[in-house]
């Protein structure tokens, strides 16, 4: 033998240490840079976009419906009935499912069943971005929005395993036949790619608020988390808000103000 066992173990040990160190360095760094593009002068600007969902203001089923419809109609989100294959960017889910760790037996009646709006949390530290093998999902450095590149996605669905919020949908079938009225201003997606809420990045760039915020009658508030004078910061300062699964360290940028049972 050209090297003996002891030598081999030595070399193997050193190279393992070196490899682990290098990998740790890479993993520690995390984030990915977004692609370059030119901005419109009307664009809304922020260092960290965030949303507050004021559940006190969702009274009737209609309040939810119009918010969801505003989003899904603009973005050509198909209406697939089979829940296994459905695509959703923003939808209502019962409190007990959205905040399972807060659910309690003796809560005010109806609270555990109260529908909460859920969407992509545009996390500070998004696991979906960390796991994506092609950078098809990435976090924009300038404003923290977690984006999707539908043309680069290979459909491995690792991001869906990575997301702790179930915010991502996969096109298990061709979505186009399931779009009732197509909005020609926004592209439809193809089969085999993942999609999700984009915080309406292309509306923000035109100086428009996200579609759901616009349709919400003030129940959804959108703004810059890094600006102490922004409306979201003022609300966060004066109201008790909660975020989903904070113990996971993803730091969601969607905040909830909980309402009473009368909103159910």
């Amino acid at each position: 033998m050209s090297i003996d066992r002891r030598q081999f173990l030595k070399i193997a040990g050193i190279s393992t240490l070196y490899g682990v160190g290098a990998a740790a360095g890479v993993l520690w760094k995390g984030g990915i840079e977004a692609s370059q593009y030119s901005k419109s002068p009307d664009a809304m600007k922020a260092k960290r976009w965030a949303m507050v969902v004021d559940m006190r203001k969702f009274k009737t089923e209609d309040d939810y419906k119009k918010v969801i419809h505003a989003c899904h109609s603009i973005y050509n989100v198909p209406d697939i009935e089979d829940t296994k294959e459905e695509i959703k960017w923003i939808w209502a889910e019962k409190f007990g499912y959205v905040f399972p760790e807060l659910k309690g037996e003796y809560m005010p009646e109806g609270v555990t069943d109260l529908p909460f709006l859920v969407l992509c949390n545009h996390c500070d530290n998004p696991p979906c971005v960390r796991v994506c093998p092609t950078q098809a999902t990435f976090k924009r450095k300038e404003d923290g929005i977690v984006m999707m590149d539908y043309h680069r996605c290979i459909g491995c669905r690792y991001c869906m395993a990575g997301c702790p919020y179930g915010a991502r949908s996969f096109n298990y079938r061709d979505p186009r036949p399931f779009i009732k009225e197509q909005n020609l201003k926004f592209p439809t997606r193809m089969i085999g790619v993942v999609e999700k809420c984009t915080f309406c990045n292309e509306r923000i760039e035109k100086g428009l608020e996200p579609a759901c915020v616009e349709a919400s009658n003030g129940a959804l508030i959108f703004g810059d988390l890094s600006d102490p004078e922004s409306e979201v910061r003022k609300i966060l300062k004066t109201n008790y808000t909660i975020r989903r699964k904070t113990k996971l360290g993803t730091s969601p940028s969607v905040y909830y103000i909980i309402g009473g049972a009368e909103n159910a």
């Binding site: 890479v26 829940t83 696991p127 960390r130 093998p133 098809a136 459909g155 702790p164 919020y165």
Partner: protein, 388 residues
């Protein structure tokens, strides 16, 4: 040497054509899936990985287990394995081929698969997994082919192969470790979020892979003039016994932490898998079957008399292989997705198309294995092997 795979008995060709037929059937099924999407599988918004990724995970282990022959032979100078180390290396080639195919058929946009290489993403474990798997495939083809070629000529393998063989040892460990990291680093999946996963993967791989090798060795001995050897099989049986014992121990550790801490998110997945939860229990019979088969295998392996008897040894290896295949090739992946991130239960069961594609990939794997083994066995048959 490949020409040796082109001559064979009637039985050999029957086997080859049956595998080709199954591979063809799988390909037809895949064309359906390619045209209509993964909607033809049992996967869903909640269970986004299933049979394909399970099979991939299991087969990475089978591939890595070649190291259980390489280490004794090359590091501990256990000469007896010289005869059969090639069987392990060629099994690895076949297993990695299947791994790559299972990843391919799982992609939503398979034509874009090269994006993984075009946009290398160092923070993605999937990027690293594809790199180490490719490397392992190349290493094993190079090593296996070169050493066999040297054997055929009756000369020593060229000197440059040795460093590659040493490299293949940590590399084998790396492929399964990185595959475990695919799962073990996801914050919202309690069932997978466990540092033991890599160790459990390696232990179960070092049990299932050599168990398969024992069965393959017995088949080779029966069908050809090449005898992998009684002692070799017994040495493998001991490796299988140690690895299975380690695996069951690790499983026990995991169960203890989950069941004693009683943290609901951790308990629910295990409860769903082994007993069913809230009236949902599609997977429980599979996991129970897997546990029973494991226990049968453990009893037969630990007991020296049943381990030394080749009939009961074969039975043990068969039960063990099926047990770990059910557990790792199916149940393990589902445990991470059920209940889903909202705490709801959405079950999964593979469809016919999915099953046919899976059978097709296995057929291709066995085809590669048969051809490579045919070559290896023919070379061995010609020259009565000398232990050097």
């Amino acid at each position: 040497m490949l020409e040796k795979a082109l001559v064979g008995s009637k039985r050999y060709w029957m086997w080859i054509f049956s595998l080709l037929a199954l591979a063809g059937l799988g390909t037809l099924a895949y064309l359906q899936q390619f045209a209509h999407g993964l909607g033809l599988t049992g996967l869903s918004r909640d269970v986004t990985w299933g049979l394909y990724i399970g099979q991939f995970t299991f087969l990475v282990g089978v591939a890595a287990s070649a190291v259980m022959l390489v280490i004794p032979y090359y590091l501990h100078d256990f000469k007896k394995f010289g005869k059969i180390v090639i069987l392990g290396e060629f099994l690895a080639v076949s297993a990695v081929t299947m791994c790559i195919l299972f990843i391919f058929v799982d992609m939503g946009q398979p034509m874009r698969i090269m994006n993984v290489v075009l946009h290398p993403t160092l923070n993605s474990i999937m990027f690293w997994d594809s790199m180490v798997l490719m490397g392992y495939l190349i290493l094993n083809i190079l090593i296996g082919w070169t050493t066999l070629h040297a054997d055929k000529k009756g000369v020593k393998p060229p000197a440059w192969v040795k460093p590659l063989i040493y490299l293949s040892i940590p590399w084998a460990v790396s492929i399964h470790t990185v595959t475990a990291f695919l799962y073990a680093g996801l914050p919202g999946r309690d069932f997978w979020l466990n540092p033991l996963i890599a160790a459990m993967f390696l232990a179960s791989a070092f049990a299932a892979g050599p168990a398969l090798l024992i069965l393959l060795s017995m088949i080779v001995r029966k069908l050809t003039k090449f005898d992998p050897g009684k002692e070799q099989i017994q040495a493998l049986a001991k490796i299988v016994t140690y690895a299975l014992t380690a695996y069951i121990f690790f499983l026990g550790l995991k169960f203890f932490t989950v069941l004693y801490s009683k943290i609901p998110d951790k308990v629910y997945s295990i409860a769903y898998l082994y007993t069913g939860l809230n009236g949902y229990g599609k997977i429980a019979p599979i996991m129970i079957a897997s546990s029973v088969l494991s226990i049968i295998a453990l009893i037969l392996l630990v007991n020296p008399s049943t381990r030394k008897n080749e009939t009961t040894l074969a039975l043990a290896c068969g039960s063990l292989f099926i047990s770990l295949w059910l557990e790792k090739g199916f149940g393990f992946v589902l445990g991470g997705f059920i209940p889903n991130t909202f705490g709801k239960i959405v079950e999964y069961w593979p469809t016919m198309i999915e099953t046919l594609i899976t059978i097709g990939v296995w057929a291709i794997g066995f085809l590669v294995l048969t051809v490579l083994y045919k070559v290896a066995v023919s070379v061995r048959e010609e020259s009565v092997y000398e232990e050097h």
